[in-house]
């Protein structure tokens, strides 16, 4: 009798823990480590000047999540927002800056990527497997105290050299790069137009979870890129369609800004030069 009670007791505990684990798995992707990469990039095809941004790679047991520090800070502001109409100008004046609004989830076991980005009010996502074919070389160097080996690949119209370390057995890295037998600590294209380099890696005190938006539009990469291109070419049209009203105090300023915007679009130097 007592043995039966004990068995039932342990069974209940086991089932409870399994349920908790399943609930946690559905609730979000938990990450325990944070890597910071310094990205140095050339935003324009015609102007050689370079910009820098800090990019974050959150590392969990099955997933990594890649986004800019600025994007992460903006998301944090949204999570902690107060329900008030006040502070419109002051909140926006202090908005963290970033040129990169995407979030990239990398399923480590199979290098499947889920790319997420908002276009005005719509959350989009698409799946991709970059199918990176790596050539591993014998060259070695140390980055942030980790012994790294060199590897080369091609992706989306660029050739890349990467340095990865098997001391961190996570098959992932910045942006959509992964699939090597260790974490990529540094990667750059042959033209040095996009260069990611690890600056810090640490365990997170309180694990961070990333959740899916309930109203994400799941689509294909080419469809998303078409939507994005249409929006970037005529953002005011899309805003009007969404019910947003914009009033410039000086129309000549509006014309000047739109002209500069069109020039920037022509000169844009994205990380993916080929998207098919």
């Amino acid at each position: 009798m007592i043995l039966k009670i004990k068995i039932h007791f342990y069974l209940i505990i086991f089932l409870f823990l399994s349920f908790q684990s399943a609930v946690n798995a559905q609730n979000g992707k938990s990450t325990n480590y944070k890597a910071i990469y310094r990205l140095t990039y050339q935003p324009s095809k015609v102007d050689n000047s370079q910009k820098q941004e800090d990019m974050l790679l959150f590392i969990g047991s099955d997933y990594t999540v890649f986004l800019s520090l600025g994007k992460h800070k903006k998301d944090s502001l949204l999570r902690n927002r107060k329900n008030t109409n006040s502070g419109f100008s002051s909140i926006l004046r202090n908005l963290p800056k970033t040129e990169f609004d995407y979030v990239i989830f990398n399923e480590i076991s199979n290098s499947n990527i889920v790319y997420k980005q908002k276009v005005l009010k719509d959350n989009f996502s698409y799946k991709e497997n970059p199918e990176l074919k790596w050539e591993i070389h014998n060259e070695k160097k140390t980055i942030a105290g980790y012994l790294c080996k060199k590897a080369r690949t091609k992706y989306a119209g660029r050739e890349y050299s990467a340095w990865f370390t098997s001391e961190i057995p996570v098959s992932s890295g910045p942006y959509k790069f992964g699939g090597l037998p260790g974490l990529i600590l540094e990667i750059s294209d042959s033209e040095e137009e996009y260069h990611f380099k690890l600056s810090n890696l640490k365990k997170i005190e309180n694990p961070i979870s990333f959740y899916d938006s309930s109203n994400t539009i799941k689509t294909e990469k080419k469809v998303f890129l078409k939507v994005l291109k249409e929006y970037e070419e005529n953002p005011f049209k899309k805003m009007e369609e969404t019910g947003i009203k914009i009033n410039f105090s000086d129309n000549s300023k509006k014309t000047e800004m739109l002209k500069e915007h069109k020039e920037k679009l022509k000169e844009n130097n994205p990380i993916e030069l080929k998207t098919i």
Partner: protein, 64 residues
């Protein structure tokens, strides 16, 4: 002593002449924005990219 006094007067005079000037290279213009949920305000931007960025955040912050 006299030369020292004149030098100091010149330096202080020059400094005070420029002290009040606004030497900001770019001036952000106010763009009046009314979001889809009716919340409105001024957005201070110097480019379309900045305007897009601010409006997208504002929509997520106040209208979602």
């Amino acid at each position: 002593m006299k030369n020292l006094f004149l030098t100091l007067a010149f330096v202080l005079g020059t400094a005070s002449t420029f002290a009040g000037e606004n030497l900001v290279e770019e001036v952000d213009d106010c763009v009046n924005v009314t979001l889809s949920c009716g919340v409105s305000g001024c957005v201070y931007v110097t480019s379309v990219e900045m305007l897009i960025d601010h409006i997208e955040f504002a929509e997520a912050y106040w209208c979602e």
